[in-house]
Symmetry: C2
Subunit: 430 residues, 2 copies
């Protein structure tokens, strides 16, 4: 007998096949055990009539805890944003504040249909516990920033916590460790070698900010005599699996290099616009063969963690910046947030599509709302008309995390209170 049957669904499987109406999804032990037109017996039945059911979304680049600072530093130049506002606050944040911000961010992600995320921040072993409790999936990494003469990796909390993550969680569970080189400009080459050796040893993904701003991209070229992407490749970093974030200023040769090495790029369109970084050429990345996925970046440069916004904006920007409305069609935009995101996380065999054998990481979108009617093409409706707020149910491994206004694993009122009473005073230095 099945544990759960989702029936009467319009299923958008994201396998390349079209949307299938009046479909059932059977779930056993957290996995999809049945997909078809019958209605096999199950302990629990969810009626998805009037809903689209599709894979949960993957947020491939997040600093989830930055929800603490949502709206704290809007409309500043990037340098002032980072050095006057963000870095001083981050120096004050403790583990409790970071966990509080992460829980609030997860509440928003679950609400808006995200089931898995790649996080890069601080105190990630504590974040890992919070993720397990919330029931999401996550690739967690502590950003290694190795600047200053006295830098000693043995004393760097990011290094120590990365080791803890890899030891305690490994690289294959629902919560798993990634390694993070923060960026080219925040660490010397010997640190890259250290990170790469771990990546090889553990089979871990390396998560790196790459060519986000023009200034950063040009300075890397001056420093290394080649682009940051080429410098990472030359130093072996791309020989293991890499997830780059941004890639706004990547050059043609960079795209070829990344494709050749099977690297992924998390496109963060809202954040790239909000900080004035520019518009990444997603079409060129896809044409080069790069696995492009989507990220929200932190809520302090967004100011939302709603991947539906990134899906639509990715498609819109690809069209608008190329003057070609066919540049990134709806279905391909949805792939960025599902199939490609899962692949970037090393979860391609486990999630990202609705298929028997895969984890039941599913969302239900309520299509009864006027903003979603009529529907001529379900993929277009999801990509261009749906909002995160149209998600009525979010499920990970067959377990419901959110349904119809209720969070089942997070006490949202408490999460908001913890952020506002504990963390906000730290942000404001009060």
């Amino acid at each position: 007998m099945l544990d759960t049957l989702i029936k009467n669904a319009l299923v958008l499987p994201m396998t390349g096949a079209g949307a299938e109406p009046d479909c059932s999804i059977g779930i056993r032990d957290g996995r999809i055990a049945y997909l078809g037109k019958d209605k096999p017996e199950a302990r629990e039945v969810i009626d998805a009539g009037g809903h689209i059911v599709m894979p949960g979304l993957v947020n491939a680049h997040a600093h989830t805890a930055m929800c603490l600072m949502r709206g704290y530093a809007d409309d500043y130049t990037l340098e002032s944003w980072l050095f006057d506002k963000i870095f001083p606050v981050e120096a004050r944040l403790d583990e409790r504040a970071i966990v509080a911000g992460t829980v609030l961010g997860m509440a928003e992600m679950i609400r808006t249909g995200t089931t898995s995320f790649s996080d890069m921040y601080f105190c990630e072993p504590a974040v890992a516990e919070a993720v397990l409790k919330a029931g999401m999936k996550a690739n967690l990494s502590n950003a290694i920033i190795a600047i200053g003469d006295g830098y000693d990796p043995e004393k760097d909390r990011a290094v120590i916590e990365t080791r803890t993550l890899l030891k305690d969680y490994g690289v294959s569970g629902d919560v798993r460790g990634d390694i993070s080189i923060h960026a080219e400009y925040t660490s010397p080459v010997h640190i890259w070698h250290m990170a790469h050796e771990w990546a090889a040893e553990y089979g871990a993904i390396t998560h790196i900010h790459l060519s986000e701003t023009k200034k950063e991209h040009e300075e890397a070229k001056a420093r290394h005599g080649m682009t940051a992407a080429a410098a990472f490749a030359k130093n072996g970093v791309l020989d293991t699996k890499v997830l780059f974030a941004h890639g706004v200023w990547l050059e043609k040769e960079d795209l070829e290099l990344l494709a050749e090495h099977g690297a992924s790029v998390a496109h963060c369109p809202v954040s790239n616009l909000k900080l004035g970084s520019g518009i990444a050429n997603v079409r060129a990345m896809l044409d080069a063969g790069i696995n492009v996925c989507l990220g929200t970046d932190g809520a302090c440069s967004n100011n939302s963690l709603d991947l539906f916004e990134e899906i639509k904006l990715a498609a819109l920007l690809a069209k608008g910046s190329s003057f070609d409305p066919t540049a990134l069609p709806a279905y391909e935009a949805l792939k960025l947030a599902t199939v490609n995101g899962a692949k970037a996380q090393g979860r391609g065999d486990e999630t990202g599509t609705v298929e028997p054998g895969k984890a039941a990481d599913l969302i239900m979108i309520d299509t009864s709302k006027p903003n979603l009617r009529p529907i001529y093409d379900p993929a277009g409706a999801v990509a261009y008309s749906a909002r995160g707020s149209d998600v009525e149910m979010t499920m990970v491994n067959g377990k419901v995390l959110y349904r119809n206004g209720e969070w089942l694993t997070i006490d949202v009122e408490r999460a908001v209170r913890e952020v506002e009473e504990y963390a906000v005073p730290i942000v404001l230095n009060k």
Copy 2:
């Protein structure tokens, strides 16, 4: 005694003053009669604790009935979109279908905080009745398209219906008539003169598509030996009040010309990207002194009628395309959708801000949701974090049109049914 008191609100008045906490708004005969810290007696009290109250939004460029075709023609080149998909459908649409689409579109607009819109489509006298019933405000215009040798204005339904609109509704009520010259490329100069004479006679606003695509902009120059904006100015069209839509390809001299004549431009960022038209330079328009407002365009090139998306995208695009994150700050982006929209509609004295004497066209945004916490700056929270779905109450002239999941003037289920059972078969030519 007041009719209604909204109490405990965080009021964002959009008058230039900052947000005011614990504020009361008193309403009498549809107008704001009190704004302050007291709680004067009223027949009905609305507790706005935990909510931001601000002016209702103005959608300054819509083809509302195109909701019928939401998602019908995604990812086509502009020419194929218009000539293969849209125009053939529009030739088949009748008044009943257009009213059905308009009602569905109004349901979405009301739900997402829009209280007034400028519509350009067909059968507008019938649309006017639907708008009155829904309780919204609207400037309605029938697009005059005067192409073909046999064109006779006396036989053009758009001309006849424009006369009806102006006669029946005038230019100063909640529902009022505008005149629409569809675009430079769809009518000869003598038609502009005819339209302009009416505009002068009635004191009506002229609503025109302008320089939306590069092709259109360049062809106008070839045709007139000057830009479309200059041609309209030369022919007197700008001597009465004009609301232009798009303006993606406007040149420096065009901006000066529009500013000099007090013309407004409805920026439609989502539609301009989706159709591959480009990115309008809103910062340059504002710096030139143009009254820039926001529009959704039709749901067939968007595919939403949610102005919160346009507000955020307007700010994001201004920043991202100029590489300057200060290019369009949150508060200024909100002005486009409130104060400036009202002005573009000729309603500047009547709506667009929360001030005693103005109409009670107000929206309440629920800030208890995790995607809106914490709040460091209310304007930033509304511009960058709020979605239309966070609107909990929409009020026009003191009358509640939507509150907490319920539409009070539109039967939404019936509206959806009418669209899907009557209009969609016409779209699909079945």
